[in-house]
Assembly symmetry: C2
Homo-oligomer: 221 residues x 2
């Protein structure tokens, strides 16, 4: 792999939907890695409570404040409300790298399955809404359980990073590499994001079958 990795140590990270498990888990890991982390919610109060529960230097605020203040913003909100939340933050997110990690999934008694998305994927929907932002898709298959477990100090997996802006994907790959055990791997253009999001359904099946918190590694790179 290339060793020409951008220096991302000083980047501040905002997490929309930071009160959910995935958001809290990523907030915790990026704070441990030394980043300034700001988590967002519709309610500033709930965001501050969640930030306090994570501890360290993590702070909470309402979503527009987080979107405006952070250098790079992770979208970890529920799929339901994805489009409308992003539409409301278009101005604050303009010019920024926005990392979408949302998995549009349905659940029934047979487990999880991928939902059809008009734009192709959550990431493509984000790109369609946030025309002034640099949308990257990443962190889909990272187990919130592992992220939040204080006894887990290393999370061994590759984060597939997709996008059409090379500088943005390089930055997000480097950010993934800030979490011990993780490696950011370029995974293709945004038009190929659907299958990466949808694969989360397969990982849920794998986790159920093997009683695991499965992730993926890319071989031969």
């Amino acid at each position: 792999m290339s060793t020409d990795i951008p220096d991302v140590g000083g980047i501040s990270i905002g997490i929309l939907g930071g009160t959910g498990d995935q958001g809290k888990g990523l907030a915790r890991r990026f704070a441990l890695a030394g980043h300034s982390v700001l988590i967002g919610s519709r309610s500033a109060e709930r965001a501050q409570e969640a930030a306090a529960s994570i501890g360290g230097s993590v702070r909470g605020a309402d979503n527009p404040t987080v979107a405006a203040e952070a250098d790079v913003v992770i979208v970890a909100i529920p799929w339901d409300g994805h489009r409308s939340t992003l539409e409301s933050l278009r101005a604050e997110l303009a010019g920024k790298i926005v990392i979408d990690c949302v998995n549009p999934l349905g659940f029934d008694k047979q487990g999880a399955y991928a939902l059809a998305v008009e734009e192709g994927s959550a990431a493509q929907q984000a790109a369609a809404v946030l025309t002034e932002s640099r949308v990257v898709a990443a962190f889909h298959h990272v187990s919130a359980v592992l992220l939040l477990n204080p006894e887990v100090d290393k999370i061994d997996l590759d984060v597939l990073v997709l996008g059409d802006d090379r500088e943005a994907t390089d930055t997000v790959q480097a950010l993934a590499g800030r979490i011990p055990g993780m490696r950011g791997v370029y995974g293709g253009r945004l038009r190929n994001a659907h299958q990466v999001e949808a694969m989360t359904a397969n990982f849920i099946s794998i986790n159920r079958r093997y009683k695991a918190h499965a992730g993926l590694r890319v071989t031969d790179i």
Copy 2:
């Protein structure tokens, strides 16, 4: 992982589309693992030529003969013609485990992308056509280049095996494990096959970016 692995050493393997690179590569590896392998093509003569080029004990025949004679049949035909070929082999494939490894992909100057499939995926199309067969999806991300390279004696990756018939997926997982370095991992129900097929487009992007023959490993199992 479970150690209750079915004994599949005596299973004979037929490969429809065995004259393509993926089919020839799998034929070569299964023959090296000691299986009786029969590769198929529309023309028996072309199948026999391809079999001779692989060497060892691999034999060639027309598709209906292969479908009728082999215990387990791998579908490695081009996506174009997938449905009609399977329709013509419905009777021969009845009662058998049929492993679909077809990736419905399109290509343009930006690389590969997933095609929309009416039934959801190639594997679901196979299941819709072959109502009397036990359709399993597997071997999507295995590099034909590595399979065919005589200097590669071990292919380190996991083969995601998807299907709704537990005995069939167990058998195919065990078959994957016959190729040195490979491990068969249950990857979910057939309704979640689309993203596994489509991920091949991402691996093509990864291969291009990293000049690799990438595959995947599932962590924590």
